[in-house]
């Protein structure tokens, strides 16, 4: 495959893996869970994105045809990563009840959903 592409691939690989590494480093370096949460959700996803892109280009180079699989994975990750982060955050808040005081007010009548019942239950169906 042509050297330019090869260079690109290598670059992407290196960059990607650096980001992956950074994400994990953040996991140990940062002080508390909420800030740790930032590291993997961002860095790792992007790092992985880089690696995926690399492999895409690589196979484009070797087999000539564009392999779009990797895009799919990236797509998956970009959809899921925020959800994961969201959930972990919620679970964390739930576990650390004392956080409740530090949180800013919602501004509306209801509190944060992790702690406060939304008023949906009222009109719900019977037990089955």
């Amino acid at each position: 495959m042509n050297p330019l592409l090869e260079l690109l691939v290598s670059l992407l690989i290196v960059l990607g893996s650096i980001f992956v590494l950074v994400g994990s480093v953040g996991l140990i370096k940062l002080p508390d869970l909420m800030s740790r949460l930032h590291a993997p959700t961002k860095a790792t996803t992007l790092g992985l994105g880089g690696v995926l892109l690399a492999s895409m280009l690589y196979f484009l180079g070797t087999s000539g045809e564009l392999s779009i699989h990797e895009l799919l994975i990236t797509l998956f990750l970009f959809i899921t990563a925020p959800v994961t982060a969201h959930f972990i955050a919620k679970a964390h808040m739930h576990k650390q009840q004392q956080l409740r005081k530090q949180l800013p007010p919602t501004g509306s009548g209801k509190g944060w959903s992790t702690y406060d019942q939304p008023d949906q239950e009222a009109d719900d169906g019977s037990n089955n």
């Binding site: 690989i13 492999s55 576990k95």
Partner: protein, 89 residues
Amino acid sequence: MIHYALLFGFCAVCVSLLVNLWRVVLGPTLMDRVLAVDTMVINAIALIILVGIYQSTTIYFESALLFAMFGFISTVAFCRFVLRGDVIE
């Protein structure tokens, strides 16, 4: 050239995997462990992709895909367990 890049990649990913393990074992809180495991999955995917490039084969793609999907599911399941106890309600 790619070979060296890959080598670097392997090392980086492996180190981060070990780091994750470190988190899993140390914690301190439960959610830290969950987070670490989630990251571990993502890093594992990276590893698979690298291996794929290394062996220049695409058959590992599905594995990576499923890893991505199932990593998500299991993390969510863990969180739901912590949040609600009942995973499916």
